[in-house]
Every structure is written in structure tokens, then in C-alpha cells.
């Protein structure tokens, strides 16, 4: 077996050195009855070729977004990723390295994390960022938990603009902590005004911009309302490419910003693994969950980086830790950082402009179709389309036509009749003019 280096001779020699007669002697502590009932009806090993054939078959049973024009968003976005990126993250020194607990031999990872933390802070308009979380949804839950710690309050208010899965994950994460999570009913036609709802018992208000239905929102006055009541404002961003041309959450007064970094990291991969970005104010840094890389010097006075403020974490603080997180999303965070480095200021702006231009182009042509209404006056690259028929039905018809034409909102809110005809449509730089053309033709047909 190709992953196992020992010969039987070597195994015998090693047993002799150990002083054991058989390998089984080393498993003597396992009760015999347990060993005897360890019978498995499972397949034997396969060659690399056989594994490839088997998995390639499974892969071929899927329609992938390279084979069909893709207009799917709802929290995951398909962008083009430069070839250099995948080459870089496949370097063994990045791919197969461990968490950088030994800083002298992990400066590659640590410097990259420090650069990542800086990029995330710059992109969100915040002061500090951590080394990443599992994904945007869990980052959102961690932000709510942190707000409760900082304000010492036990209530969280979540806007209808927040991705429904982020709401569910936050509710679930806080379920047994005594914190009350209130979720407002989503309104696809506009941006809910939460300023009236901010009260002195709130730890935080959580909003998303661009919102789940695509709405861009200026949260400055909401931030002021929160701060006046001693509450924090948490802003979620599921499409961080938007930050290329829209006002930054930090500049609008956000206290914590969480993002799903998948769209920039390029790892669409059926929804996982992604990467959660987490940024906040410097004054809250000791309440931040997850790892942090910090700059320092070595004994020769040379600059280097280490994991720091570790006493917040589970391996030291144990039950008093800021979170139980251990493994995060290292390689995906690296992918995010590499792409942002390749893009730079100019490239990031260009990417965002291109996304918006294509989305506007499609929106204008969709609006021209009878019976179709776009509910999102201000959007980045995704908008909500109200159709004269069930959105689920339309999406299925489009799929049969070889077009992944949008995500029905009812997939997330199955019991809300208001949303039955609502389709979330995203457009990125990967959509060509013929994609847009094909989509419109198929849509007109489906609606006829």
C-alpha cells in the first residue's frame, strides 16, 4: 500500500525492539470482546487509478458551473481565480504545514496571516482582524457572542437583510447560553429601518449589506442609534467583492464586521470549505475569538511574527475561552490573501466595477420583460427578481435548459408565501454576453 512505508521484515524488527511477539500484543488494553466484534463489511483498498475512475464518475453526475451559465448567489459567488493562486496554495509548505505554534519554522504561514489580517482590516475599514473563522455564518455567530461579552447584555437583534442561514447558525450557537436572538421578518422590497428598535438591553444589532435580497444599505444612522444605547453594530458581508466599490462597513460605524471570504478565495466547492473573516475595533481585541498573528522580534533583533494573545483561546483558557475554536480555515485564508495581493487596489476596484456593470446590464434587460419586477433599487452584483410564476418552478425549467438561473428565495423561507415568486439572481465577471443572452431567452420562454 503506497502510503505505508514498512516492509514485514521491518515490522518484525520493530516488534523485537519493542519486546513484543505480535502486533496484537500492543492492542492488549482493548477488551477482547470489543476486538472480536470489530467486523466490517467494507471495501478493500484501491489503486489510484481505480479511485480516480470511481470519483470521476460521481463528478460527472453533476452539472458544474463551468458547463452551464451560472447566475447563482445567495451567499456564495462564482468568480474567476487566477491560475497563480491555485499553484501557490498547492505548494507543500503551505498545504501540508501545521498550525504555526513553532514560529521559527513557520514564518511563511505567520507572515501570510499577518498580511491577511491587514488586508481584511483595510477592506472592511476596521482596525484589527483575526486569522479567520470557519465561514461567514459561524463568524456572525461569534460576533454576536462577542458583543454579548463586551456589552455584558443578553439580547441580539437580527435584521431581515441577514442571510437566513447566518440567522439560523447564530440562533443555534447561542441556544444554550441564555442569550435571546430575535430575528425580524425579511422584507425583500426594501431595507428595514431598525433605528427605532434599538434598546438598552441589546448587545448588538446584526445587518447585512449587500443584503440577502441584494439591497445596499447605508448603516451610518443605525450605527449611531446603536452606540447611543451602548449596543454594538455587527455588519455581515456575504459578497466581499462589493467592498471594491461600496462604502466600507467600518466607515459607516460598524463595531464588528464579518464576511464570507469564499468568493475571493475561489473555493466554490459546493459550499465548503469557505473562510470567515472577522474584523473589529482595537479596543475589543482581547474579546476576539480565534487566532491572531502579531509582530515581534527574535533574539537577533530581526522582525518576525508569532501567534499571540493566546490566553483567550481554548488551549489555555479552557472553559473561560472566548470560543472553542481550534482549527480555523488557514489554507482558504491564504487563498483569499493571495488573490487580494494579485488584485491589489486597482484590480480589486476593476473587478468590482465589472461585476456591477454586468449585473446592471442583466437587470435592465430583465426589467424590460413583462411581469418581471426587480425589487432591489440599489445593489452590487445580486438582486431579487419578482416573477409572475413560482421561482422554484422557473429555476427548475431553466436548469433543464442548461442554465443555473438563480436561487429561489423560498428555498430559505419555505413557509413565507410572499417569497414564493422571488428569484435571487447574481451576475459576476464570469458571465459572458452569451450567458446573459441565453438566460434572457430561456427566462422569456419559461415565463411564456
Amino acid at each position: 500500500m503506497r502510503y505505508l512505508p514498512h516492509t514485514d521484515v521491518e515490522r518484525r524488527d520493530m516488534l523485537a525492539a519493542i519486546g513484543a511477539k505480535r502486533l496484537d500484543d500492543l492492542f492488549v488494553d482493548i477488551p477482547q470482546s470489543v476486538k472480536d466484534s470489530a467486523l466490517f463489511n467494507l471495501p478493500q483498498h484501491l489503486s489510484e487509478m481505480e479511485v480516480e475512475n470511481s470519483l470521476a464518475l460521481l463528478a460527472s453526475e453533476n452539472i458544474n458551473c463551468g458547463d452551464a451559465p451560472c447566475f447563482l448567489g445567495a451567499g456564495a459567488y462564482r468568480h474567476h481565480v487566477p491560475a497563480s493562486l491555485d499553484y501557490i496554495i498547492q505548494r507543500g509548505e503551505f498545504l501540508t504545514s501545521y498550525t504555526p505554534y513553532q514560529p521559527e519554522i513557520s514564518q511563511g504561514t505567520l507572515q501570510a496571516v499577518y498580511e491577511f489580517q491587514t488586508q481584511v482590516a483595510l477592506m472592511t475599514g476596521m482596525e484589527v482582524a483575526n486569522a479567520s473563522m470557519y465561514d461567514g455564518a459561524t463568524a456572525c455567530a461569534e460576533a454576536a457572542a462577542m458583543a454579548c461579552r463586551v456589552t455584558k447584555r443578553g439580547k441580539v437583534l437580527m435584521s431581515g437583510s441577514v442571510h437566513p442561514q447566518y440567522r439560523d447558525v447564530t440562533k443555534t450557537a447561542l441556544k444554550f447560553t441564555g442569550v435571546r436572538v430575535e430575528c425580524l421578518v425579511p422584507d425583500p422590497t426594501g431595507v428595514d429601518d431598525l433605528t427605532e428598535l434599538v434598546s438598552r438591553d441589546l448587545a448588538c444589532v446584526v445587518v447585512q449589506t449587500p443584503g440577502f435580497f441584494g439591497h445596499l444599505q447605508d448603516v451610518s444612522s443605525l450605527a449611531e442609534a446603536c452606540h447611543a444605547q451602548g449596543a454594538l453594530l455587527v455588519v455581515c458581508v456575504t459578497e466581499p467583492v462589493s467592498l471594491g466599490i461600496v462604502k466600507l462597513p467600518g466607515d459607516m460605524g460598524a463595531d464588528i464586521v464579518v464576511c464570507e471570504g469564499q468568493s475571493i478565495a475561489g473555493s466554490l466547492s459546493f459550499g465548503g470549505p469557505g473562510v470567515g473573516l472577522f474584523a473589529t475595533r482595537e479596543k475589543f481585541v482581547r474579546q476576539v475569538p480565534g487566532r491572531l498573528a502579531g509582530q515581534t522580534t527574535d533574539q537577533d533583533g530581526c522582525r518576525g511574527w508569532v501567534l499571540t494573545l493566546s490566553t483567550r483561546e481554548q488551549h489555555i483558557r479552557r472553559e473561560k475561552a472566548t470560543s472553542n475554536i481550534c482549527t480555523n480555515s488557514g489554507l482558504i485564508a491564504l487563498a483569499f490573501s493571495v488573490h487580494m495581493t494579485l488584485l491589489g487596489e486597482a484590480g480589486f476596484r476593476s473587478l468590482a466595477e465589472l461585476n456591477h456593470a454586468k449585473a446592471v446590464s442583466l437587470a435592465e434587460r430583465l426589467e424590460a420583460i413583462d411581469g418581471v419586477k426587480i425589487e432591489t433599487p440599489a445593489f452590487f452584483n445580486e438582486f431579487a427578481v419578482n416573477l409572475p410564476k413560482s421561482a422554484t418552478y422557473i429555476a427548475e425549467v431553466l436548469a433543464q435548459d442548461g442554465i443555473l438561473g438563480g436561487v429561489p428565495a423560498s428555498r430559505f423561507y419555505p413557509t413565507d408565501p410572499k417569497l414564493e415568486n422571488l428569484l435571487l439572481v447574481a451576475v459576476t465577471e464570469t458571465n459572458t454576453d452569451s450567458d446573459l443572452e441565453a438566460f434572457l431567452v430561456a427566462m422569456k420562454e419559461a415565463l411564456a
Binding site: 493566546s310 490566553t311 489555555i316
Partner: protein, 126 residues
Amino acid sequence: MSNIKYTEEHEWIRLDGDIATVGITQYAQTQLGDVVYVEVPEPGKHLTARGEAAVVESVKAASEVYAPVSGTVTEGNRVLVDAPETVNNDPTDEGWFFRMTLTDVRDLDGLMDQSTYDAYVSELSD
């Protein structure tokens, strides 16, 4: 200093008139290593004996500092916030954590005196 008492958690408490000063001992600071961060309580905070009063963090550990007896905080040592290394350099004097009034002076009787504490520490080190 006959008016200094000690706890099993390695806090010292020194009464001067009505106000007691609390810190951690030489043994405690050695165990912790380089102190990187300190959180001291706000004036007015009520403390119960053996309840959490302050937090001290080193690179490898984070510890609570407990109130040796019940009372009310009069002052936290803000110097420690900017210069946490003071705890390592001078734990028994400049490195004090907070000052408090006592609910009952007699509570001090239940704590260890110098020689008892010294014996306690030498037992731990064996």
C-alpha cells in the same frame, strides 16, 4: 511586615488603617512568567471572599486574582494596565492590584501569616 496575610491562591493582603491593599506573591509571579496583561476592578465594585476580583495574563497562562476577604474596591492600580511587567518586577509593592475596604476586619484572621505561607510555598515546590 506583620500585618500582611496570604491566601492559598497566592494573593497577599496588607491592611493600613481602614484600607487593605491586595497583590500576588513572588511565587505567583514566578509561576506565571512574563505578565502581558492585567485587568483591575473598578472602584465601588463589591467583592466576596474567594470571588474573582482581577485577571492577570502571561504569555502562557491566564489567572484570576481572587479577593482574599469580602469588601468594596476603592481603587484599581492603573499603572499595571500600561506596565504589566511591574507585577513581575515588584509584586509585593509597586505591583499591587487593587485596594479595598473590608466588610469585617476579623476575616483576615482566617488567612495565613508570613511563616505559614512560606512553609506552604516550600511544600509546593518539593
